[in-house]
Symmetry: C2
């Protein structure tokens, strides 16, 4: 006899992306199709759930158009959190509180969309369910622009950010060719990814038949030497009037000091006695200007790079939705303590399938760019890197334009929930 | 008897935009259709011409696809300059040199695509042609993201930048709703336009049925009071956990001191003794963090906002092309010392026609945002402002995507020219 299906709850966790809401749409669609009753959304993840904050998603996704809008809405529709559960033996009462809430809501499947920290949540909750004999299934759905999750070929959110970065860097390179400056000019573009260089390396996507690409790319995986960097720029300006260089926010010296720390040293104090913070790119732009006497500009792609739904990758958005669906399917079919991963079956044509993997092997792990995908000098990525990223940025998800601006999903009073 | 048509020369001047190459495409198309022989392009504007640097555009635009790619290529295809001609009575020899070059190239029409400084070039050259009896016609084609040219309803380049700003600000606002922070968070977005607030005001386009829009907008036309600003933010955080505020790069105090000067005061000196420069947004983010104890983030839209061809406005790109065509038509029909302007015939439906206006009334003038289009408190724009901008951001110019990234026009050896 078929078991009676009760409810599903889904949460979003960690940094927002352009694709995380597409996974949410995928969870919703598959849970509906598989006959679940209610699909709840945690507001601000597990932290909100602990405070009793959740919504009935069917009040927000009322038709197929809403689903399509949700796929095109950046950031976390449900709100996110960076809440790390305690170890089970340290504070059991937190877990009891969560399971009581889940039982009250008659939850069968708990889906959490997030990165490595979020997979720690899935790990601990599924571990605890073994202890307390709960039948709830806990499944993780991968998400992070940083692309640093273990065991999966890549993560939803990365492809769209990479497409935005490649496009924006290319536009900035063109811009740099416009005006001649007496002593040359250097633009430093600062890109997210404190430990993993996947996003920074994606600046190489700008290179093609119509663009020489960035003049150097510095990933956080390798130590950064300020003097060598200045020398590289000095030589570069002898050959070209305009350089564009991509750096990770997380570049650091051999001894582990972040370059950003140089820019925020305590000697930068403003008139009020406040410590001034300067970003990595700003700091390096200042160094270059004073050492080489050239014009410099620092551009931080900041949250623009993770929120740029208007330039999302179709492959990314569709894969994000299917990861959400696969998470529900896995939980529905009995899996728990697993995460959905992508498995690249073929390079050409690009083909990926989803699988489930034990979340114990994923949580708190970090996948970095392999050394062999960076050139010998350590100042650019190789063709293998670009070949790996290229399929993930293919295709467009045309925004739903209303009066000249992309439309997002929004229900009356939406912001009051967050 | 029809006069024998000889050659046209066209140059681009001032800051690059997403639409300036569309005007170049328009010049090329109309000059061809009107039977001109060669169409030359100055490399880096009048400065390059003085050095004998120019190309035959037909070697770059070889078919209709090239024209379409050119319309979608950001920055200045020909390279730009910020060269100001001397007064005629100060240095006649510069003018003699230019006219000798133009005569050598058998030029009938000289088209210059640019902003107020560039119109000064058209003014002086057409004035000089009256003195030396030259038959060359000098016509200006408007271009500037700043939208600060006199006598024209708006300028090509502005609409695309405004569309990018409205969209990006909206995405950043959504991003800001994702994560809860204990003491709230404030994002400051710094937008171009040192004297004119048209671009900064366009942040208001983010507001709609699905977005509350920015919480405050500060234009450079009104004095900026740091204390009032901090107080506004303090009150804002009492009502909302996440604020997004748009500021112009040119905001300044009552006595004319730019806020950016506070951030680059001489007391910010790094370990090498170099003066550190901080942007306006970074400075204000630092002030807010220390005075209010909230999380802050500074985002400078930098050159991204003027180079974002991937999100160009169709109205803007098409108008830019027609302005280029209208410039050639005007010159062909005998006008000189004029600029093409846009005249808004109807608001609803939006309808603009082109006209010619005496460049003497435009050069070196600056059109600012009228006081009545800013609210009483001076911290946001009015509905009239948005109603004025809205038609200019309508429609899309779908980028020609190749392997996931927008394609630009590029001919072998192109970069060597610049």
């Amino acid at each position: 006899m078929d078991r009676v299906k009760r409810n599903v709850i889904v949460g979003q966790s960690g940094g927002p992306t352009a694709a995380i809401n597409s996974s949410l749409a995928g969870v919703y669609r598959t849970a509906k199709e598989r006959g679940y009753n209610k699909i709840y959304g945690m507001i601000h993840g597990i932290q909100g759930l602990l405070e009793g904050r959740y919504i009935d998603l069917s009040e927000h996704i009322t038709n197929y158009l809403d689903e399509e809008l949700l796929k095109r809405t950046p950031a976390s529709y449900l709100g996110s959190c960076r809440f790390k559960l305690p170890e089970i033996h340290e504070k059991r009462e937190v877990f009891d509180q969560i399971f009581a809430k889940l039982d009250e809501l008659e939850i069968d499947c708990f889906i959490y969309i997030g990165g490595n920290d979020s997979m720690d949540t899935i790990k601990k909750l599924s571990d605890y369910s073994l202890l307390n004999g709960s039948k709830i299934r806990f499944v993780g759905c991968p998400k992070t622009i940083d692309n640093d999750l273990a065991l999966t070929d890549h993560t939803p959110g990365f492809g769209s950010a990479a497409k935005y970065i490649g496009t924006s860097v290319k536009e900035v390179i063109r811009d740099g060719l416009s005006l001649e400056t007496p002593h040359g000019q250097i633009v430093i573009i600062e890109i997210m990814g404190r430990n993993a260089g996947w996003l920074t390396g994606s600046a190489a996507l700008a290179q093609g038949e119509d663009c020489l690409g960035p003049d150097a790319i510095y990933l956080p995986e390798l130590p950064f030497d300020v003097d060598k960097f200045v020398e590289k720029c000095r030589k570069g300006l002898e050959e070209k009037p305009s350089l564009v260089i991509a750096i990770s926010e997380g570049i650091h010296t051999e001894d582990g000091t972040y370059i950003s720390e140089f820019g925020s040293a305590s000697d930068y104090v403003d008139a009020f006695g406040h410590k001034m913070l300067t970003g990595t790119a700003s700091y390096l732009a200042n160094v270059l200007a004073s050492r080489l006497g050239c014009k410099t500009r620092a551009i931080e792609l900041s949250t623009l790079q993770r929120a740029a739904s208007h330039l999302a990758s179709r492959v990314d958005i569709m894969e994000a939705a299917s990861a959400g669906g696969a998470a529900v399917k896995a939980a529905d079919e009995g899996d728990s303590g697993v995460m959905i991963v992508f498995n690249r079956i073929s390079e050409d044509p690009y083909l990926c399938s989803t699988e489930v993997k034990d979340v114990h092997r994923i949580a708190n792990e970090e996948k970095l760019v392999p050394r062999e995908w960076v050139n010998e000098e350590g100042d650019n990525v190789t063709k293998d890197f670009v070949d790996y990223v290229r399929p993930l940025i293919q295709g467009d998800v045309s925004p739903v334009m209303v009066d000249g601006i992309p439309r997002h999903l929004y229900k009356p009073g939406y912001e009051k929930l967050l």
